[in-house]
């Protein structure tokens, strides 16, 4: 599923300075994206998010550099916009009419928005305890929205069971190449924003893990083109205790020796709660290869980090706050050295996660057979 580019030919045609004359969206990196026809691009203004130096936090934590990558400033308020801009563009090129996604929330609202922009039908299935604001967002963008009595992989099963009968394209994690390629632009952007000098450490909140895959792929491609030099950043996954398959797999040394999975997830209903990441083994091996690590933080750590970022003027999602808590822990443990520089990803903003019940609650389903009559009757109008 990882797209191969002719990097030699890109290096021969594009110079770093050429990028400056392009717009600020992620499509400035068009040569590194799999959408060949510019007319197929489905864009809502994604990418080009700020990389904010946290001067006061550098002093507090005694570190040379710490930045927050403000992915909450994307359309739909999360980093998921990048992946779905690329994925929906590819689906449009292929003439797909209906796309479906199992999601903890932000992927659902991103598919909903990009499908709306493309004039495509979207079907999204989220857990029963998905934050109400995100459900409202999916409905606002016109998606067929359902809740599953279960977790994200249960939602995925419903889509797999119904896709043939309904003609849905399953746009779930690693089901198609666009989402990883779109997320890859986060890595390209960090490199450009830091003057093509990468940080020592990148801290990323991890559910399915395609963010880690995207960052790693960006740096591989830039290195192959000789646009960057030296060591790649150590990539760090942060998860919430109670659903930490990546952390567990790294500790157990089990990469490549079986599925990376957690049983009985007890963590909060956020993007971090992915008990069975579809490509967990790849994520674990990337982290190992870069000399990175994985950290599990508690709900209380997340709450404290959210407060700390808030008092710096930044609204962070629980996932982004978890990454910040991971930074604090690794700095305090000395794993991040005083002379190093770290980039921490804030993947969404706090507002989406408040305790609020959507005005029109979607139906809760267990199986495709539950969903089918509801969906078909709504489609008939």
């Amino acid at each position: 599923m990882l797209v191969k580019y002719d990097l030699e030919s890109i290096a021969a045609t594009v110079k770093k300075a050429d990028l400056l004359t392009r717009g600020n969206s992620m499509w400035r990196y068009a040569e590194w994206l799999p959408v060949s026809d510019p007319a197929s691009v489905v864009s809502l203004g994604e990418g080009g998010t700020p990389l904010l130096r946290m001067d006061a936090m550098q002093r507090r934590y005694g570190v040379q550099g710490v930045y927050v990558k403000r992915e909450e400033q994307n359309p739909t308020g999360s980093f998921k916009a990048r992946g779905f801009a690329a994925a929906v563009s590819l689906l449009k090129e292929k003439g797909v009419a209906k796309a479906a996604v199992p999601s903890n929330g932000n992927a659902a609202s991103a598919l909903a928005a990009y499908a709306a922009r493309a004039g495509m039908e979207a079907v999204v299935i989220v857990p029963g305890d998905c934050p109400g604001m995100i459900i409202e967002e999916c409905i606002r963008y016109g998606a067929h929205t359902y809740q599953v009595d279960g977790l994200i992989h249960d939602a995925g099963r419903i889509i797999e069971d119904g896709k043939q009968e309904q003609g849905w394209f399953n746009a779930g994690t690693l089901r198609e190449p666009g989402r990883v390629e779109g997320k890859k632009t986060m890595g390209l952007e960090i490199a450009e924003q830091l003057g093509w000098k990468l940080p020592d450490v990148i801290i990323y909140p991890t559910g399915g893990g395609s963010g880690i895959i995207g960052l790693w792929k960006a740096f591989q491609e830039l290195r192959e083109m000789n646009w960057i030099e030296g060591e790649l950043p150590r990539l760090v996954s942060v998860q919430e205790a109670g659903c930490q398959p990546i952390v567990d797999a790294l500790q157990a040394g089990s990469a490549g020796e079986g599925a990376v999975a957690s049983e009985n997830a007890t963590s909060s209903p956020t993007g971090l709660r992915v008990p069975k990441p579809p490509d967990g083994n790849l994520v674990v091996s990337i982290i190992r290869e870069t000399g990175g690590t994985a950290v599990a933080v508690s709900k209380e750590d997340i709450r404290r980090a959210q407060t700390e970022l808030g008092l710096q003027g930044i609204s962070s999602s629980p996932e982004g706050a978890a990454a910040w808590a991971g930074f604090a822990r690794l700095r305090e443990a000395g794993w991040i050295k005083p002379a190093e520089t770290a980039v921490v990803f804030n993947t969404s903003h706090a507002d989406k996660y408040i305790d609020w019940i959507p005005r029109v609650a979607p139906a809760v389903v267990r199986t495709y057979n539950d969903l089918k009559p509801l969906y078909e009757s709504r489609r008939r109008g």
Copy 2:
């Protein structure tokens, strides 16, 4: 209060192409901003928001061009970030330790965030029916947050009454030069994003009206520098029926002949509800000068526009949706011609305006004397 620049000297030193080598925030227009020392800049990554062409809406409304300027992608989720980035930078330069603002919501959360970033104290006072999410945001950023039993001008009176005793700087609309200058970057940015060719019409939702003033000032400056040619855009104010002082003043032809004001505001609790805009006369005369107009739309118009934008993948605030409703009305009436191009401002996103009660409700006060003991006791901790 309007800052004068040596535009000849800017034109002599800066070329359009120079801007390309700068970052994407509003500070790429540093020469047009009143902050002289780069070390004083208080930034959270504001500006550089997408200008999104609405192809499907061009077809639906039969118009050459219609764009949405996505100001909701700013820090704090609204256009107010630009004004407060500039204002708080200036206050920091002056050594101000405590800033206060009367606000319908988004100005309060923007001051709160930028003051937090600057290590400054913020005091914000919003109406009793201010959306709960915005109140929560102010608290998250650490501002002293109060609700007034009244409207925005009642909040302003409390700040005026207390500012001497408490050492507050009143950062209300047109009390200092930074906010207009920051908003001016919206105009500079549109010009640059459209290749220095301005649209025929710009539609802006109007409360206090400093957005209109900022846009107008941007175009004046660019024209004086010969960076743009031809007619300036017709500027359009959109307000909600029930609080429409700008609309009324334009219809009555009263500009310059007394205060622009509405009595007994009955419109919704949004940024549009400013019964007594501090510089209403200037706003009205700018609209006249550009051949623009002002439109009052209903709650139902706003709801419909919000739905229409949502189904295009855009989350709009009631203010942004009001502007879109104004576009629809003016296009349908033929005031915007088929061969013309319009830019519509979406100033914030929908999530902030849901019906939700903040976890910790701030105290409701009527006068400075009500607020004083609460504030002083909280400051003592």
